[in-house]
Symmetry: C2
Subunit: 165 residues, 2 copies
Amino acid sequence: MDAATETRELVALAARVIEQAAERGASIATAESCTGGLVAHLLTEVPGASQVFLGGFVLYANSLKSSVLSVPVELFEQPGAVSEPVALHLARSARERSGADVVVATTGIAGPGGGTAEKPVGLLWHAVATDTGSHAARVVVAPRPRDAMKRAFAAHALKALLARL
Amino acid sequence: MDAATETRELVALAARVIEQAAERGASIATAESCTGGLVAHLLTEVPGASQVFLGGFVLYANSLKSSVLSVPVELFEQPGAVSEPVALHLARSARERSGADVVVATTGIAGPGGGTAEKPVGLLWHAVATDTGSHAARVVVAPRPRDAMKRAFAAHALKALLARL
């Protein structure tokens, strides 16, 4: 599938998220590391997104994960920035800071560099925080170029968000 | 120009921003309203972006502009969220919160709704904050679909950022 077709499908998925959030009367927000703003961008491609999408945080550097969303710095050593505890922390903290009902967070390794045997390029942790709790999941996306990797990560994040709305 | 070509040119522009920031040893961050995360997304399409791009804020709702970046609520009444003071405030406050050397902010009306005679669809205020001050500019982009409008806004923001690096 080419980039343009993939992007159209992602915007259609984002439109379902916006529609379902509006039906449920739920506001949404994002906390993105590896997707770097793509999830927020896709949600704001949808006309009327402002009804439910409050905004988000892009926490690319670990320093921002700590200074903006209070991720404890010791987590970056062990278990590392790409991990379940960090994904959950980003989602919960962004929910608190934004006041949104449902928040999705991403942390992963988009490549081309940065992979290790234990944490390969393509590894993604995503998490969703709601009023009833928070849930994280681990995905490993098959190798592909950086832009396609970010799109695959964004698709997982939007589906996780949709499932909790 | 089709969407794919426009996007390729935007990523090339983002790559110049990353390269120039790296050459100057300057870290960068974003504070986006109308571009909804697109500027951060474009910057993070560039391999090695993490050398200089710390992250950003997507302040789609006015409530987040105030709660996250301390924009005084009275500004939303007069002169309004799409204005020079709000653009400057977003850039300066995001610079303070992120610790980045140079920050670009956007606030505008992407459409299709939300335009008025005084503030038409296509109106953009962008601002850049650096260690020596902050600068805002007003642009009106000719009518086009929402996705193309966001791309045009992002191009202006990236060029403004490049000019101040």
